[in-house]
């Protein structure tokens, strides 16, 4: 692997001159520039990023801390973050926490200026005092924590409200919710949106219709739906706090021969790609993931470039995509 030294020797100039050419700095005589460029070409020189960053005091990496790549929402988001990071010449390091406190703590502990320039975090279990960060960070989604860290995400209350209002507009009156969670801030906000929508329509808030989910996987949605279908009066609609729960719920409904949407209308949240192809296809709250990824990366870039202090809370747009799980073809 060629180094600056090799190129310099070949071009008959000093190492620094080559460095200057590579970085487009300062004044270099046309004649030298040409020779250096030829030498660069001939040797196939590529800068050693480790060395460059050591010298510059940057690492060239940002961390993306998320629960699990096998969760479609995070996989899709990760893809978009990688694309957005590329524009700032950042590489993305993905850390999986599996949603556990231990996993999140260890991921956070491994961050630091020696490894990454900044971090995008999607924590689920962390408490306030875990956030002793040594690099700029952005939180994705809302959280139970109240820490002075930038945030990017949609308005969860409004989004949930929109979803439930849609169910109400279809004439449903016994609307269940799946995904309540004791610690997750996002869950609390979506629940609040659910409650608000019911209130606005003067529908009662029925405890037995709100089912918690400790995890947000398909299996949890199926289990929750089964318990709802076991009620003496089952719901005629269900709002799931993410698409995986909804897919699981629809699966459970199908197994009990409950028809969607006629017997049961289902709304999800996240708009995973798979939701457009399920049978029936799933109505879902669609956050603008591209906007989230871009906003998060851009925010970090500004923080790293110039430490300006105003705390930011970026609200990205969302929409409700109505599909067959609420309105039959």
């Amino acid at each position: 692997m060629a180094t600056l030294k090799d190129v310099a020797r070949l071009a008959g100039v000093s190492v620094k001159t080559v460095s200057n050419v590579v970085n487009g700095y300062s004044f270099v005589k046309p004649d030298n520039r040409r020779r250096v460029e030829e030498a660069l070409e001939a040797t196939g020189y590529r800068p050693n990023l480790g060395a460059r960053n050591l010298r510059r005091g940057r690492t060239g990496f940002i961390a993306l801390v998320l629960p699990e790549l096998s969760i479609p929402y995070f996989a899709e988001l990760a893809g978009l973050v990688i694309a957005a990071a590329q524009e700032h010449e950042w590489n993305v390091l993905i850390e999986q926490t599996f949603g556990t406190l231990a996993g999140e703590r260890s991921a956070l502990a491994s961050l630091g200026p020696h490894l990454v320039d900044a971090a995008i975090l999607s924590p689920e279990a962390l408490q306030d005092d875990d956030f002793q960060l040594s690099v700029p960070a952005v939180l994705l989604g809302e959280h139970a924590v109240d820490v002075p860290i930038d945030r990017v995400g949609i308005d969860n209350v409004a989004a949930a409200q929109t979803a439930v209002k849609h169910l109400i507009s279809l004439g449903r009156t016994r609307i269940a919710a799946i995904g309540a969670h004791p610690h997750r801030g996002t869950a609390a906000l979506r629940l609040e949106g659910y409650r608000t929508a019911l209130e606005e329509a003067s529908l009662p808030f029925v405890d037995e219709l709100v089912v918690p989910a400790l995890n947000y996987h398909r299996a949890d949605g199926a289990a929750a739906m089964k318990s709802l279908l076991d009620l003496s009066t089952p719901p005629d609609a269900v709002f799931c706090f993410n698409d995986l729960l909804a897919i699981g719920a629809m699966r459970a409904a199908a197994e009990r021969l409950v028809r969607v949407p006629s017997d049961l209308a289902v709304v999800g949240f996240d708009n995973n790609e798979e939701s457009a192809y399920s049978s029936p296809s799933l109505t879902s709250v669609a956050p603008d993931k591209t906007a989230i990824a871009r906003a998060a990366v851009d925010l970090l870039h500004r923080r790293v470039e110039a430490r300006d202090d105003a705390l930011e809370d970026v609200q990205t747009p969302f929409s409700l995509l109505v599909r067959e799980s609420t309105v039959a073809r």
Copy 2:
């Protein structure tokens, strides 16, 4: 951020002694060791990986080059690769190529000893002479290319054959295939397995039942299925070269009110998590993704540690998971 120098000053020893303690090397007096450990604790020292790797001539990273994270198979695989890499103290850099030749070329070009120690590649379009690699690499899956690079994957011919034999055992005689592709090696092998299974059962190979797919997304599967259903005699079974195609195919079938599995049996390939929850759930060839990830990473680790030259072709196990898309509950 504390450096070795800070720790050394605090402990009253030389930098190298601290380095020795950190790396567990050599002999250090118990007394000094204790003092150093206290100082490490007090300063919260964490090694600067850039500097360490610069010195050691390693980068601490491996690249994972894949088409797209929003494809569930690759997302799941990426998660497993990250986990496997962690055991060798490697961080994983994910590069998305979006399955294009340009994307793959640029990803390959950006690799190099200055950035990563090794690479795991999942190319779809690259030609033989594109593989001018400067770091050890592993190819995932089979390929049309014939290059001296280690490979990890399942026996695609046998796997496809198993899938089609299963359909035949159900009494299906007009079995279609979706996913033929002019350049992809994997597609060619799966097609070969399909053909072999038909031959063994003395069933005719019918051209019109083999539908190509330029991409392997759900939309492509739906489009292909529609064309099959438009045939004067539609198939009674279909083998899709991946689960996304199968999900799309089932979706198209549902839209045409074709019942799965009674009218049409469907088999997929990859066993994505979503396939267990679709309605009906999808019968699929399940490669052992954990084994693939682990084998790939371990292989690279051996290559990096000791350059031994025997070309390896690791065959990982697979199984056929029979679900409702071929056998009704």
